[in-house]
């Protein structure tokens, strides 16, 4: 069974045509990988489907815009994967 990171990295590689080997747990999806908001919708769609969750993108965006969170908290892949794991766990609870 592949890890959350492997699944997410594969989704990003396939969706955005980014070489898989350049995608690291410490990569920032926007700043390091150059993923824009439209491409991130495709990634969110694939993540939602793969994990049976709904990434709360609107809430995250609002929190960043309000200065209550940083983009690193949501878009560094390690952090993103931790949040995915949290959503999956909450779904099963």
């Amino acid at each position: 069974m592949s890890s959350t990171f492997d699944t997410v990295a594969n989704i990003i590689a396939e969706t955005c045509d980014i070489p898989r080997e350049t995608i690291k747990p410490e990569s920032h999806a926007i700043n390091d990988l150059g993923i824009d908001s439209l491409d991130f919708l495709d990634i969110a769609f694939a993540i939602d489907k793969a994990f049976g969750i709904k990434l709360p993108l609107e809430q995250w965006t609002q929190e960043v815009n309000d200065g209550k969170a940083t983009t690193e908290q949501y878009f560094v892949l390690d952090n993103l994967c931790a949040r995915i794991d949290g959503l999956v766990a909450a779904k099963g609870a």
Partner: protein, 153 residues
């Protein structure tokens, strides 16, 4: 279909919010300056307008689901297929269904039929935002009334 106003749907004939489907009808006008250029001597409904027709139909489904709280803006077009020529005067039946409802975005699959034959289809992604201007929301309500959209209030 009022091409000059970019109003490409004549009537919503079925809206099922539980099944997340919509069906609309539209008649392509027999004449338009668009057909003078596209193409001289061989008038065809432009494919981009067929895609827009599917987008507008999907948009009404999304507006119905969000009860006029969100506007749907077309963000991407995937797997668009224009399977047959569509000519002035033809009647279109447009259907759309929700594929995915994400956070701030929705994906639909839509198709257009002429005389029971699929002539166009696509998967469409929309960004959903609160109406950026109250006049837009009011304007959409006017269009909704004109096309028999069953207003969910």
């Amino acid at each position: 279909m009022r091409l000059e106003y970019f109003q490409l749907i004549d009537r919503i004939v079925a809206l099922d919010l539980d099944a997340r489907t919509v069906k609309a009808q539209a008649k392509i006008p027999p004449t338009s300056t668009i057909f003078e250029g596209h193409f001289p001597g061989h008038p065809l409904m432009p494919g981009v307008l067929l895609i827009e027709t599917m987008a507008q139909t999907s948009g009404w489904l999304i507006i119905g689901l969000t009860k006029f709280e969100r506007m749907a803006f077309l963000a991407s077009v995937r797997e668009a297929k224009l399977r047959a020529f569509v000519s002035p005067g033809q009647d279109l039946t447009i259907t759309a269904r929700i594929v995915h409802e994400g956070s701030g975005f929705t994906i639909t699959k839509a198709a257009i039929e002429v005389s029971g034959k699929v002539v166009a289809e696509s998967e469409l992604t929309f960004r959903l935002t609160p109406f950026p201007d109250p006049n837009l929301r009011a304007g959409m309500r006017l269009v909704a009334a004109a096309i028999d959209f069953p207003d969910p209030q």
